[in-house]
Amino acid sequence: MEAEALKFFIACVTAAGFGIAIAAFGCGIGQGLGLKSAVEGIARNPESSGKVTVTMLIGLAMIESLCIYALVISLILIYATPMAGTVNKLLGAA
């Protein structure tokens, strides 16, 4: 029973690591594309810099929230796995 719980926990933690890495990869590309267009817009028309900056910040926050959802799932996998009781006893004793 303990060996099964430990194997499950190892799988959960590995999945958490890869999950947030892939999410950060996608988020970086998405935010980079948004930022690229915002900077091009400011370079083309410096007077619109205020509005473009505000819109860019809102867009970046929206894209970042997708990465935050993946982070929340990873945190659940690490700290609140279904076998949390058994895992805590194992790690507490070790």
Binding site: L57, I58, E64, S65, Y69, L71
Partner: protein, 229 residues
Amino acid sequence: MEHPYLFFVKLFEMMGLSHFAHANTHVIYTWVVMAILVILSLLAVKGLSMVPSKGQNVMELLVSGIEDFMISITGEEGRWLFPLAATIFLYIFTCNIVGLIPGFFPPTANLNTTMSCALVVVVFTHVIGIQYHGAKYIKHFLGPVWWMVPIIFPIEVIGHLARVLSLSFRLFGNMMGHELVLGILFMLAGAFFAPIPIMALGIFVALVQAFVFFLLSIMYFTSAMEHAH
């Protein structure tokens, strides 16, 4: 995960309410934020005059700035939404900011606080819709043509439920992630002042997340008030 040292939790422990304090840390710090906001507002309106003093000037700047921005998104018919929208913005911003003071816990780092704010916003959206449109509010959910209703209606309902999830989890994830990173950096390299750049980022994140919550709320209110397509 070790428990950080929190001032008001220790205060409650000294009063003998230790179990309540540890189970409901976010409630205690919500009371702290409420006290801060009420005291600051009372101080600012103590000597109201036509030629504003310093405190009154700051409050006027803040309130009129938020109101003008809100009107630019909702139009003139949305002016009555200002008390709720400004409360959402100021409350969430203060909740986020008090997390940066050593010994304080941001109430928004707990899912209960953020879920309560998101539920208020989404339920109020539907109340506005029914108040403005009556029974015809259902046309918002039905899409452009009548024969696509069986597909469009579930998608719209799921979209509205997803608004609750996205609003609450965005704020909660940002604040909880910030707290976790601070805790881990403190554990790893606390003697070298390693958490300081993260706290500087935290000021920026606090403002942006409060602003994004406020902006999404007024956009949802506007979309409920306008005519269906």
